[in-house]
């Protein structure tokens, strides 16, 4: 049997490579200085979907909610083998917390309507919250299995997976449709396919297309056939304004501080035997070292 799959992917600032310039003087984050990347575990989610499609056939739709620049992760999804890509983008989505995000994503999924498996990354590295998956599942009223390290078996309308639990793992079985969140343990994401890169390198959203001026277009091969990335706004998916963006977010950021290091009393210890002897004796006298 073939499977219809939806993968949720997010473009995130590369928090693993935060450098000095990424933090502004006032301790806030200078997003502009951070490279934007495909959220790592979303690549694992996409890879699981591709593996299923390789084996059984089917269709993979990708949804990403974000600013226009997030079209990049959708192009990269096409380069890896996605069939349909959708950018869920609207100024009104700005400032969404995980609840408002999951609402918007769930509305987009409901518009696609027909699916067997929704795959998410376990968590996004910008917030490390791991909330959007389960919240989306609840809004869709489907079962969820989080922290999936391995899909053990997929047979007809039933799936068996291995998931991490505290100090071990469990293997669970459930019926489709289901939402899975996939961990970095699951697989090694495949590289771009050269053929697909050739085919999709000019894939754009309608608004990207209309931003090109005509003179420029005359000098390229880009035309309407490159408008492959769908662009949906809140009205397109029927999302209520009071439930999206800042308005639809119950949590508010009250305050942001940079991390301050507290300097205690500091003693420089000589890197010599007498230096170490003094230190160890002091710690022994205080019964810190036995």
């Amino acid at each position: 049997m073939e499977y219809k799959m939806i993968v949720l992917v997010k473009q995130v600032p590369d928090t693993k490579n935060i450098t000095g310039q990424a933090m502004k003087e006032d301790g806030t984050v200078n997003r502009a200085a951070l490279p934007a990347i495909f959220n790592p575990e979303d690549l694992n989610a996409l890879e699981e979907a591709l593996k299923i499609k390789d084996k059984f056939g089917g269709k993979i739709s990708i949804i990403s909610m974000g600013p226009p620049a997030a079209a990049q992760v959708l192009r990269e999804s096409l380069f890896r083998g996605a069939d349909e890509v959708i950018l869920l983008s609207d100024r009104k989505f700005a400032g969404a917390d995980t609840l408002a995000t999951s609402y918007a994503l769930a509305m987009a999924i409901k518009k696609i309507k027909d699916y067997d498996i929704v795959l998410c990354g376990r968590q996004a590295i910008d917030g490390d919250t791991a909330q959007v998956g389960p919240q989306t599942a609840e809004k869709l009223n489907v079962n969820q299995i989080t922290c999936v390290d391995k899909i053990v078996e997929l047979k007809n309308k039933e799936i068996k997976v291995e998931r991490s639990i505290e100090g071990g793992y469990e293997i669970v079985k459930t019926k489709l449709p289901v939402l899975l969140t996939i961990t970095g343990e699951a697989n090694f994401p495949r590289p771009f396919s050269a053929k697909k890169v050739l085919k999709y390198k000019y894939a754009v959203t309608p608004s990207e297309m209309s931003s090109y001026d005509e003179e420029y277009l005359k000098t390229t091969e880009i035309d309407q056939s490159n408008v492959i990335i769908k662009l949906w706004d809140h009205s397109e998916v029927g999302a209520k304004e009071e439930q999206i963006g800042l308005a639809g977010s119950p949590t508010k950021v009250k305050q942001i501080e940079s991390v301050v290091l507290e300097a205690g009393e500091f003693k420089n210890i000589d890197n010599t035997k007498p230096g170490l002897e003094e230190l160890i004796k002091e710690l022994m006298n205080e019964h810190i070292l036995g």
Binding site: L99, K173, K175, T251, K254, E265, L283
Partner: protein, 337 residues
Amino acid sequence: MSKNEVWVYIEQNEGKIADVSLELLGKATQLADKLKVKVGAVLLGSQIKNLCKTVFSYGADTVYINEDANLKYYTTLPYARVVVDLVKKYQPQIVLYGATTTGRDLAPRITSELKTGLTADCTNLQIGDYSAKDKEYKDILYQIRPAFGGNIIATIVCPDHKPQMATVREGVMKMNEPDSKRTGDIIEHKAEISKDLLITEIVKRFQQEKTVNLKAANIIVSGGIGVGSKDNFDLIIKLAHTIGAEVGASRAAVDAGFVSKDHQVGQTGTTVRPKLYIAIGISGSVQHMAGMSESSRIIAINTDPRAPIFQIAHYGIVGDLNEVLPKFIEVYKSLKK
């Protein structure tokens, strides 16, 4: 029953309560004192009434218990059903969960159904006031957490929706001293668990007690990527054995395969507060320090005198660990004699 209690979701697994739940009872006691309300504990499972005693002894005033054979092992849908049911009925103002795989599976599902906020991985919780454009809120839960890979600390609030919900990692909050004389009310609940909620079947389960107990250790000897190789990590282990310490590590050392993940200290590892923490070949990233900065004494050994770890260390030794550690072991052994 007071409607606006502070609740803790008690995670139990085959009759054993997770440490993080008992730690949260400690925090809940403080928050409840501030708010002048009581502490409620939510306990789900099959034949678990015997656990109430423990839950009271760590600070709960009321235990809301729901026993059902279908709740023997955790699966999302029936557990979420019961907690949502209880929250709707008794309306606590705060619900806290451990940031375990279970807590992180359950809490977002519940918040979504209750349409309220949730803040993951809080490192601190406080009560305070909040003012928005045209409104003042009294006694709101400040949910404090590192964000952006730990480079900033954000205070999140959820002023207009109840309950306010947060998850907290193990080791971050301190347990109360258990008081075996404490008791309280037990409220038995029986949520209806319909068949369509029982669609996850557990085929197999494997779990083992952690072999590393960083939280209980008085002394931790921790190695970073500066140790250089898995073989060289033996030097860290040797020092730890010599002075009777547990072995810790930075994430970089774990990622490089020097030691297993159980040893990781920091924001995404274990939070520790030993009497003595020896950081060796560890630069002192914010994420690492988030998990060890409250150690009573810190010794840093690093070749780079500008390494950030020296800013929180009490004793600093600038030098190559390959030279310092053998000397340290030798001197220690000679003083022990």
